[in-house]
Symmetry: C2
Subunit: 706 residues, 2 copies
């Protein structure tokens, strides 16, 4: 039996490269062949060209796609020097994701004959085979090892093995035919009554190190640790029978059970029951891969996330308990509580997983896992948690848009794997996510917990200006120019130490933008208030306070971006961040409450104010006697920001050049002494990988007399 097992994802380490090469070769062949065998379920050529669902390509695309993916990644990795068939490869490269209505124009595709694609696959198989045999192999295989591209191709094909099987299940019955290799489970019976199992509180430690000995997708790396409060979990996955009560109670017609997004989906598709349920007179049958069978009531129901959530709301109403889907963290508590381990290399899984048993679900009572059943396997389990990057996340250079586009709060995690999930998919560390209306071989288990589910706080900031400022405040240095808000804050703190005898009480960072200088001032000051006209900018600082992490995409070239993550702790600011309060405000019309400061910093502010004279005329009212005003500005006066009459300088006055510094002296001289500067503080703002603003800000320190 062991030899018939679908090969597990290989370990990346070892001492015998040639043995590893042979293992990878077997794994490739088995995966490539198993994928082709799936297409044996299609009844005829028409089945390749008819779309199972309108928003996705027909299966002919998916037959070619996994092969082209191999070539693309091998080209990128430098293992293949030219394309096998540029026309086919262009056609098969993209189109995996569900598209919007107007994006998938059939007329644009002139699909090749089925035989041509099979022929193409044969050539790809030979090419990959040759690459695996000929490429020097050094163990362990890390992210930058050429073999990573080979493993990526294999794991990618295993994903499509599963998603293509879903499309076949969505195909009209006349387009499919059962095959001996893809036989479903024939067991079924009455469903068990479900029950709640106590799961004690506990820690979860998620995220993998970058030298973890198994292949992973980028979003599995990094670190996430948290304490999960005690909760109760349904012993069984929700069965078709348990879900029937919801259907019969009118759950699909009860708008109160659906959130806005779910309601939108339900109305759009006019859903009245689970998608694979087939009405049959007064009863139901179930659509499997290539056949319909009498409803197996004790098999897990398959739903999308919206249906699962609506069921939980109904259940909560019925029971008065806080029923909901588990969070990703809670799923890991189930896994730990059940004492599970990943699929063994040389024995069938103790779960309906990895194609080790059937080409379908099986009764929810079949695989006990501690006090629970089906913690892994059978069908995927929807979680309440939208996918998000762990701290330390980084994209893999060969595939930088595999998970990053899903960090949008609209893709929810599925955990545990289904009967067809293999390789990485079958590992408990895997982290797949789909749009909430999407169908996979996925159902759910409900939990009872009053604890709210944490929503990922830090998605990728893609707004170009915000991302520029995030990088400006928290990112890399360019041309050797030190971080500007940090440099300015340090100068301010040094000046404060030199020119102000007293304790560092309250500081104001006016025009704080994304807040770096506010945090830096909080290293010394008791309390710092960061004020900016832009609520969007401030939100970045608030997000850092809340989550300690900031993520954004940086424009590289044209539309190409790269991904950045910055952490307050890495900047040594995690301990002081709570001392900062951010506020939206107008420096020219600041509320009276902003007063009694020992230091006011206004960096790169005054030449963007509409009334800088008014600001400077009143700023002394906000400072304690002896307090410092730190100004830094490149004096880039522009009529679009500041009317000419309001400019502080940069013009001829009484026949002589009147610089902004002259203007500052005129306006501040009555109440302030200039105690430091002027000095230049440079800064660089990155616009693209190749284009930067490089500016000199003039810094002056003024002490309020008193």
């Amino acid at each position: 039996m062991a030899t018939a097992l679908f090969p597990r994802t290989p370990r990346l380490d070892g001492t015998d490269p040639e043995a590893k090469r042979a293992e990878i070769l077997r794994c490739f062949h088995a995966t490539f062949d198993r994928y082709e065998s799936l297409f044996g379920l299609l009844a005829d050529d028409e089945a390749y060209y008819r779309k199972p669902i309108s928003l996705r390509h027909p299966l002919i695309f998916y037959l070619g796609h996994t092969a082209t993916f191999f070539i693309n990644k091998l080209v990128l990795a430098g293992l293949v020097d030219k394309r096998l068939d540029p026309r086919l490869e262009s056609m098969f490269a993209v189109g995996v994701d569900e598209m919007s209505w107007d994006d998938l124009d059939d007329a644009r595709y002139d699909w090749p004959p089925v035989a041509a694609v099979w022929d193409y696959r044969r050539k790809v198989r030979e090419t990959v085979d040759r690459v695996i045999r000929a490429t020097p192999l050094v163990l362990p295989i890390g992210w930058d090892n050429p073999f990573w591209a080979v493993l990526m191709g294999i794991e990618h094909e295993r994903i499509h093995l599963e998603t293509s099987s879903v499309l076949m299940r969505q195909h009209a019955l006349r387009y499919v035919r059962p095959q001996p290799d893809w036989q479903p489970c024939r067991d079924s019976g009455p469903a068990p009554g479900n029950a709640l199992v106590d799961i004690p509180a506990g820690q979860v430690h998620l995220g993998r190190d970058f030298d973890d000995p198994y292949y992973g997708w980028d979003n599995e790396y990094g670190r996430h640790e948290t304490e999960v409060p005690a909760f109760r979990a349904a012993r069984y996955l929700v069965s078709n029978a348990e879900f029937l009560a919801f259907v019969e109670a009118g759950g699909y017609a009860d708008d109160d059970l659906w959130d806005e997004e779910g309601l939108g989906w339900r109305r759009f598709v006019r859903a009245e029951h689970p998608t694979f349920w087939v009405p049959d007179g007064g009863g139901w049958r179930l659509r499997l891969l290539a056949e319909e069978v009498p409803m197996p009531w004790d098999w897990p129901v398959e739903t999308n996330c919206h249906e699962a959530r609506a069921f939980c709301r109904w259940k909560a109403r019925e029971t008065g308990l806080p029923v909901r889907l588990p969070s990703e963290d809670e799923w890991h508590r189930l896994y730990d509580h059940a004492g599970l381990a990943d699929v063994p290399a040389d024995a069938p899984a103790a779960a309906n997983l990895h194609l080790d048993h059937w080409a379908s679900s099986c009764p929810v009572t079949r695989f006990p896992h501690g006090e629970l059943f089906d913690v892994v396997g059978n069908v995927w389990q929807w979680c309440e948690t939208p996918t998000y990057p762990f701290d330390g996340f980084a994209v893999h250079p060969l595939y930088d848009d595999f998970t990053t586009p899903t960090f949008d709060g609209r893709h929810n995690m599925i955990k545990g794997g289904a009967w067809i999930s293999a390789g990485n998919e079958a590992r408990h560390v895997s982290r797949y996510a789909f749009r909430r209306h999407f169908f996979q071989h996925a159902g759910f288990r409900y939990v009872v917990s009053a604890a709210p589910v944490a929503q990922p706080g830090s998605l990728y900031e893609t707004d170009a200006l915000l991302a520029q400022y995030a990088e400006f405040h928290y990112g890399d240095e360019y041309f050797g120019v030190p971080n500007f808000p940090q440099a300015v804050a340090r100068i301010a703190l040094d000046a404060f130490a030199r020119h102000h005898g007293g304790p560092a009480g309250r500081a104001l960072d006016l025009g704080c933008a994304t807040g770096r200088a506010s945090f830096e001032l909080a290293r010394r000051f008791e309390a710092v208030e960061g004020v900016d006209f832009s609520a969007r900018f401030i939100q970045t600082g608030v997000q850092l306070q809340d989550n300690g992490v900031l993520r954004y995409t940086l424009l590289d070239e044209g539309e190409l971006v790269s991904y950045r993550e910055r952490r307050l702790d890495a900047l040594g600011l995690a301990g002081v961040a709570r001392k900062v309060a951010f506020w939206q405000g107008d420096a020219c019309n600041l509320k009276p409450v902003f007063t009694a400061y020992d230091l006011i910093l206004a960096a790169n502010l005054i030449d963007r104010l509409y009334a800088p004279r008014r600001f400077l005329a009143h700023v002394h009212q906000r400072l304690n006697p002896g307090g410092l005003l730190v100004l830094a500005s490149p004096y880039t006066w522009l009529e679009e920001h500041t009317r000419r009459e309001e400019w502080l300088g940069g013009f001829k006055k009484d026949g002589e050049s009147h610089t902004t510094l002259d203007g500052l002296k005129d306006l501040l001289g009555e109440r302030f002494d200039l105690v430091e500067g002027p000095r230049d503080v440079p800064f660089v703002i990155r616009e693209t990988r190749r284009k930067f603003q490089h500016t000199l800000s003039e810094l002056t320190v003024w002490r309020k007399r008193g």
Copy 2:
């Protein structure tokens, strides 16, 4: 007599600082006092407040102005630490130049009482006196010596001594009264017949070294040398009698004798005769400083430049000779031909100059200078030459807008000085210029020459973008980044030497902008063609070819600018510039004539083209076999320049990142080999004194297969 001479401008060198201090003090006192004595000509207080001419301030302003100027410059030089009277000084600071109609709003001025201004002058006199006595004096006095500010104030007041005397001459007679110190010449008689004197061809060497031992205004420094062809010059200045013939011939009514600008002036003021001529029955009287006298027909006529030019055109028509005003260079030939020297320190001038004789003109027959009369003195002499900066021009930091605003082609030179011209004004190296419709104590001498008068070719480029590019191509380096077009051209030349065996024949610089790389390529290539879409950019290169010099203003802060001059010879490019031809053209639709090149350079071009794919698809047709294509670009693709479909890269293609370099390889690979690069070449574009674009251009060298 010698003690009564109005002190000459002091030498700046010497061995006895205290003697020099005493000399400067005497000069200051004499100038300050003489200026005040001029105001003794005003009859009453109303004379101070009534404007002599509508477009200029009343004389009360000029009384205060020269005093305030001292304070302003002493403050700037750090010799005075605070203003004496900020309100008066703001009022008296600006308003010297003639203004436009809507700029001089009387209501805006609430002039102080005359006595208050006299009192202010007294305080200024004390202050300047104290500064001269107390400031350490090191000889010689150079541009950066604090005493330069003192001399500037003195020379500035001497200028206003003259211009205020013109205003008094324009005042209504009832506002003035003759004074013993300001007595006119009483000699007059019949005018001499004029005659032409042969002036042989000769060299002139104009411009002063910066260590010249006399004070000068900025536009006198630098160097201008040229060969002046032989010409003939009128022996005498044009007398009132000689000009009468023009008046009586209907010259003022004959539009053919006036150019467009002159006609505009003449019609606007309805001029029918010289401005100081007063119709008197059928005859004429002449207005002097404070009286009208019977017309002295043998005195020089006083006109503006338009009237002088009209006379010359009339004279040319009458005589059939090429009569015109002299150029500045020709005036210097007259000076050299007459063997003149500047006014002696200890004896009256041998000319009606420096107030050594009268407070008016005198007969044109009084002061012979070689074969000519009045080469200097009596009245200023209009020249055909608009003022312009000499090569090596630099502004003085204490007064950066003294001459620069007049480099506009609309201010013509006057030479030789008038009876009241003193100090620097009286020196032959002085270079004053006024608008062509302006009146001074100025007339003219005509010359006969078929040689055209060179017009200053290089005025200051003030367009911000052109000036940015001029600095980018020919200016300073910032942040240590080497000049970009030079660096790119050098890389191109090196690559050519390495990858092309043959001679460096023809090169094309596509997107040449202001042309620096074209000139740099001409160091090696036989012929270089520079092509740009912008005719304005190309004009800069053409100007450099024509004049060898380029001048522009750089934005410093707000509206404040600084002045730059760049020379082809200083860049070692004067010898090769003639090998370059500049053309306006569209890189995406280039005329067939642009072909058969050995090297094509396209620096910072492709991401600004509207059809870069078309350009690259055809560029091989323009190269000889084995020829090089050198591309450099930061790949800053923007929809505003290039439609998304035309981008060469910077997007996902077939699911993978497709960089511009990938796109270049796809488009050029068929016909070119990539022989060098990619490598980064940085560049910096200065926007203001504090704001820069800092960019990395990716450079690749492609050889056309052949």
